[in-house]
């Protein structure tokens, strides 16, 4: 693989990669920010019901201007559409689905993650806290994917031995998708499964504070 094709994934490519984890019949919750567009890339033939804490299971695409409804909006003031079979309900019910373990997969953005599956995504030093529903979600859905850039803009690893920022919860992340790698959180630590095009596992380890085990099936992230 030549240097020309060596590059980190774009956010859209990260969303496409995460979307491939969605299986037919899944109920899925996507966090605000980076994970939200994942719904646009669900592979053809896979039918999933998208859940939002606003009180919908069965969210469709962003509503066309003519179909906008002031009583049907989601994250970031997006006017929503519904898919056939959708249901609307109160916040209590929305969180029963999440905390009660009824959602198959959730995807959340993160400031930092650790090799033990800890996640920090609610409090930056000196800043106003921002939880939303994230604390209810972590540790309660059947699978949690954390999505984040691999390093800070200054090149510091966000995939750590231990989170430096205040954690949201510990030992809850199952899989980490960054712009450089796909990693599984296992009882043995982080397993590097896929790398961004053109990267070697050694190069990924060099920008990762946590110790990576290399999967025997290591491959490039298919784009």
């Amino acid at each position: 693989m030549g240097q020309d094709s060596k590059r980190p994934l774009t956010e859209e490519e990260m969303c496409r990669r995460v979307a491939r984890e969605i299986q037919d019949g899944y109920c899925v919750n996507l966090g605000a920010g980076m994970p939200f567009p994942v719904a646009n890339y669900i592979p053809e033939g896979v039918h999933a019901m998208m859940h939002i804490e606003h009180g919908v299971l069965g969210v469709g695409t962003v509503a066309e201007p003519a179909q906008r409804d002031r009583d049907l909006m989601g994250l970031g003031r997006r006017p929503l559409s519904l898919v056939p079979g959708a249901a609307c309900f109160s916040s209590v019910e929305a969180f029963t689905m999440l905390r009660g373990g009824h959602i198959d997969l959730s995807v959340l953005g993160a400031f930092e993650v650790s090799e033990k599956g800890d996640i920090a995504n609610w409090l930056l030093p000196g800043e106003c806290p921002i939880i939303g529903g994230a604390m209810d979600i972590v540790g309660h859905t059947k699978c949690l994917i954390a999505m984040l850039t691999h390093t800070t803009k200054k090149g510091k690893s966000k995939v750590l031995k231990d989170c430096l920022l205040p954690v949201t919860a510990r030992r809850v992340v199952n899989m980490i998708v960054t712009d450089l790698a796909v990693m599984d959180v296992t009882s043995d630590g982080l397993v590097l499964r896929e790398v961004a095009p053109g990267y070697t596992p050694e190069e990924i380890q060099a920008v990762t504070e946590a110790k990576l085990k290399i999967s025997v099936d290591l491959k490039e992230i298919a784009l």
């Binding site: 905390r99 205040p166 919860a169």
Partner: protein, 229 residues
Amino acid sequence: MATNKIYESCADAIADVCDGATIMFGGWGPTGDPENLIRALVEKGTKNITALASDPGNDRDGIIYGCHPLIKGKQVRKFIGSYHAWNQEFIRQFKAGELEFEVCSQGIFVERIRHGGNGLFGFYTDVGAETVLADKKEKRVIDGKTCVFEPPLKADFAFIKAFVADRWGNLQYRYTGQNFNPTMATAAKVVIAEVENIVGVGSLSPNEIHTSGIYVDRIVKGGYYGPRF
């Protein structure tokens, strides 16, 4: 059918809300927020409010929603909710120490309100149990998990929004307009419902009522619904 619950104006409906009141506000983002009641509270100028809401709302591109007008007017002393909704004035007041912010994960926030309205006295949960928020909370290990105790939330008033009410106060919501409204309707001493339509008793199908009129003390028809897109 006993008392008439219908008020002529939002100003009448909130006339007895005094300084220092604890008020729940339904709605999340630009959906299901009692915007006419909030505007009336801005005009009334009530101060030192303890506000309970998912978030403080915002003013973005001229679209004003949620509690933002009360934040902007510095009418809120303490806010209990789950996030700042990128409301720059809210963040500024918080950082300047002008506004107390009790942050609570959204599902725990609404569950605490549910307990407040259900005659229950709080619950244990693992949500947030490993965070700095748990430092001062009572802890107990249940099924091998460390849990924290979360007390109920109640208020003097709940300002809620529904699509339609009958004259006795049975309420119906639309789509995501439901959110926190039906839960808050159970947990305040005085529940004031702002609605877009009022119909006669018996007009709503009993199968399609979300909130029973038993919880609703006052009903007022909202006069103006601002743009949301």
